[in-house]
Each structure stands twice: as structure tokens, then as C-alpha cells.
Symmetry: C2
Amino acid sequence: MSCRGGRVNIGEIAKRAGVSRSTVSYALSGKRAVSAATRRRILQVIDDVGYRPNASARALAEGRTRAIGLVIPPAGRRLTPIQLGFVADVVAAAGRRELDVLLSPSGGEHDRSFERMVRGRRVDGVILMEVRLRDARAARLRESGVPFVAIGHTADAATGYWVDLDYQGLVASCVRHLADLGHREIALINRPRELLDSGYGPARRALDGFEAAAAARSLSATASCCPDEAAAGETFIEDLLAARPGVTGLVTINEAALPGIERALRRLGRAVPRHISVTGVVGRHWAEEFHPPLTAADVPITDMAERAVELLAERLAEPGTPPRNVLLAPPISLRSSTAPPP
Amino acid sequence: MSCRGGRVNIGEIAKRAGVSRSTVSYALSGKRAVSAATRRRILQVIDDVGYRPNASARALAEGRTRAIGLVIPPAGRRLTPIQLGFVADVVAAAGRRELDVLLSPSGGEHDRSFERMVRGRRVDGVILMEVRLRDARAARLRESGVPFVAIGHTADAATGYWVDLDYQGLVASCVRHLADLGHREIALINRPRELLDSGYGPARRALDGFEAAAAARSLSATASCCPDEAAAGETFIEDLLAARPGVTGLVTINEAALPGIERALRRLGRAVPRHISVTGVVGRHWAEEFHPPLTAADVPITDMAERAVELLAERLAEPGTPPRNVLLAPPISLRSSTAPPP
DNA sequence: TTGTAGGCGTTATCAC
DNA sequence: GTGATAACGCCTACAA
């Protein structure tokens, strides 16, 4: 294809190929038969001048943009590596389906871009990250009639499209794993309190799963929240072990606190897994960086991104179909951070 | 504004307000005087039905999309937290200017989305992350005539718009800082070798700055590359100190290796900064998470994002102006990881 | 197999 | 101050 990316439009191609504009259009879309000869000629010209249909014009005519929106938490709140990897994976998955991705931070009061996307029909559908049990953005999308897939589910789970991780089941599995090893006193290191209080699903359900499983096995269990930071993880462990020195098993869904947890345990002379076992649900990368590598359920972000895009694409293709959703429960990868208590 | 986000277009608003479509348009854009009364009436209707101009139609008519593209490194290569924070910051900065952001991974062979963006006129301009000294994507944009701002500069620095960090100067400052403290034997921990070899500017210029400054102060200096991973940082330190036990000063621009560096130093019994000093150029977060907090130049991602969007917006507004660029040199934040050598 | 023509929703140029 | 009306570039009946 040549250099001049100038102002070539379909009419120009038609003229050069000696056909009508519709023929060019059909040669490209394949929605009507075009003789092999003309098609070849047209494609040749297109390749020569480096033509590509104008996306805006196409969107206007077709009534769809071939783009999806990805609503991310606002920039202020630092994104966790998991969330950020997810963004990249969504873009990749969408790209495979010839969909472009428009990013919109939201949740703060900069919902301007959110509104632009939604009302301005800039996108055909939306993937909504980090959904709360009751979520204003989800409500907004619903009332605007914009198809969307939520990452995490809302309170009315049955009525929408979503992809989520089975935090409840996974955390319960972790608890049972510890119980099976003989642990009697365990603790949950949850995400920050604000998240839990605002009805953030994973935090909520992790807590539920933890408490239920601990009760079922009659373990002595404490659950508390911890800010998403290494430093916070450090003081968390100090405080925890000061208050409850008998704890021998830790379950965490707070990956960002992990480095601090590791540091504190080492400093306090608690070897993992000899003195204390650690497990939970965290990004694979974090599990592997922990010392010793963490026995944990790895958050399958690439899967989640792929499924979310798939669901959305499906929903766009077949608007009528009943809601579908996906609850992922990745296996717990056995590494070396758990063992029987001392 | 009301709920029905349906198919309202400007004609519908015009009808309800009892005016022509153009009047509605002008009431919104302000490009023509509209009497206070009609304007009020129109805005009232718009607010009632929740109308927003269709972005595609507007783009087609105006000849610009009010969207910019952000070209990120492909998903495969894990994005560093700095890069990821940058994405969020760009989106925020663009949002402030009523610009939407389209994401496109590139560099791998998924250049389809890149081409879609560029040739399909989906965006008015592009921000190109992580530019190489000689960069195919930059060349492509240039020949397509798409305005862009590069993060990092290409070999022909003078001819383009870019925003970059003065790695050369910053690393040199770090070296001089160590020299001033009395260090005589230092080492540079650079980004991965592939990046250096492929002409990745920061790696290249960090090396240059390091060698020049070390030579100027007649320090004994080694520079090597290290993969972007904690584990790699760990073995890096082991190898380095085995080979050159006399090293007392470390300069790094590899933030991802930092946790490993910290672990290795601790395990080898080298206290920071008593036995060994550490400094460099890394994301603020990483500097603060290091123990003890790192004396280092903090990569000013928010600034860089803001300036990049600003430059691009300017370039879009005034196509004729000569290239502008910004070389940021943030101060080195004094924390507590450097001291005179033992 | 191919061409003609109308429409998608805006903005912008004329008139009045 | 305001209203018609022609682009913008593409898609897609409807004809031929």
C-alpha cells in the first residue's frame, strides 16, 4: 500500500476502478456477489492508494460504531496491577474481533466521558469494571439501553450480563485447605474497608465465604480489612500477630499488601510455611513473587477479559437473547506457602 | 434529564422546541447568536429528553472525531506499573479537554487496530507510548499524516512532537550524587537487554549518562541489563556482588527489579544505606515502597500524560505550528537510601 | 453482475 | 435571529 494517506474516499476508489461506489462497498463487505475480475481490480486500487473506509461515515450509515467502551475506575485511585492487566487484555480480545476500545474513567465526578460514550453513541456496548453490588453506572447504562457486561455482579445478578470470579467459593476452598492441614486459628486479609462498605462484591463475598467455611469447620477466625498497599500489609501483620499470636493460617485477597505481609512475617521471625501458612486469591504474578511462592487461586484476568468481550460481542450480535453470565473458579495452584501448623 | 435514551436526534429536538435543526445546533455550539428565549427553550427540551449529539454524525460533518488514540505496548509484554498509570493519566487529561481515548496495542503483529485507528480516521491524533530511537510506528504515522506526540524521542528528535524524561541527565545526577558522597565503585541496573538493543531511548540514554558521569568523576563503573522482574533483580544482585564485591553504589532505572534487589541485599547482609547506597529513576510508588525509601528521581507520569495531551491538543488546534517538545527533569527526591560508603 | 439514489444525524453556507 | 439545504462518506434497498 502506498504512502498518501490523504483524503481518499470510496468514490475515488470507484472512479479509479471504473465501477460504481456500491460495487466497491460490496466488494469490501462481501454482502453481494462481485465478479472475480472487478473485485480484483478494486482491491488492487484500494491497496495502491491505501484506502480504508471512514469509520465515522460507516458508523453513521450502519448505526453501529464497531467500538466498545471500557469503563475503568478513576485515575485518582491507583489501579491495581490486576485491573491494569485486565485493560490490556480487553483491548487485545476486542482487537481480535475488530472492535476498538474506548476508555472512560468513571465513578468519580468526571462522568462526562462516561456520558459522552453512552449518550453520544460512541460505542456499541460497554464493559464495566469493578462493579458494586449496587452500582449507579450499571443503572445508568440499563436505563439508557446501552448493552453492557459487568465485571463483578450487581445485587440483581440474574438480570444482567456479567463475568465474575467466585471469590466466595475460592476463599472457602482456601479455608478448607488450611483446615485440612490442621490449622485451627486463621485470619482473612481483605481489601480496604471503603471497598467492603461500599458493597464491592469481591470483598463482600470473600468475607462471606471465609466466615461460612470457618464456621463449618469450627475454626477460630478473624477477618479484617487492609488498605491496598505494601506498607499497610506490614502493619496489618504486626497488629494481627500482636493481638492473636496463635494464628497459623492466613488467607488474603489483597495482593497489593503481599510484599508488606512478607516483610513483616520475616521480621517477626515467622517462617512461611513452617510457622505460618499463607494462601488466598491473587494475581498470578504476585503469587509467584511471594517468598515462598504462594499457594493460591490465580486471578485469571486474561480469561475474564476474553469472556467479557465474548459476551458483549454476542450480546451485540443477538440483542434478543436472555442474559448470560460466567462465574470463573480457577483452580488453586499448589505452590509452597502452606503446610501443617507447628 | 430523563430516562429514555432512545433515538432522539437533533430534528426531534427542533420539532419539540418549535425551531429549525440549525438553530438547535447553534444553540449548542454557540457559533451563531441565538435569542435567550429560544436558547432556554431548546436547552429545556434537550434536558428533558436527554439528548446528546450523535458522535459519528458530528465527526462526519465536522471532519474530526474529538477522540485521540493511545498506542500502548502489546498486552503480551507485561506493562510496567508506570506505563499503566500513564494510560489512566492520559485518559484523565484527555477527558478534561472533552477528548475520548481509543486504545490500541501495537508493536506485535496486532497492528490491525493501529491501522484501523490511523487509516479509518477514528481519531484526530495519536499519543505513541514507548517510542524507540528508530520507530516503525512513528514512521507510519508520519507518512499517513496523522498528528502524533511521542513519549520518548526518535532519532530525528528535532522534527517531531514529543515528551520525554531526561534519563541521561537524571542518571548522571545520581552518579554525581554517589560520587559526592565518596563512592568509588558503582553499578547501573538497566532495563532488559532486548530493550537496550532495540534502541529503547531510556535504556540507551541512562547508559550514556551513567558512563559519561562515571568517567567524569573517574569512578569504577559497571553497567548491565536486568529483566523487568523481581526475581531477576535478586539474581542480578547476587551475581554483581559476587563479581564485584567492592561495589558500594547502585543506580537503577528498573523499578520492577526493585523488590528483588531489596531481598537480595538483605539476604546478603548488605544494609542500605550503611553498606551500600541505592538510587536511580523509578516510579514514585516504587521508591516509597523500597526499604528504606529510595532517594531517586520520581518518574512524573501524571505530568508527562498531561503535557502529552496538551501538546497533541495544541497540534490539533493549530496544525501549522512548528514541532514542540518537552524534556522533563524532575528533581531527585532525597529519601534515605544513600549515604557515604563504609 | 452492476448502477442509481436515498438516508444516517450533524455542521455550515446561504438566504431571509 | 432564524430556516432551508447542501455537504460529510458510507451502506443498502431497488432497478436494470
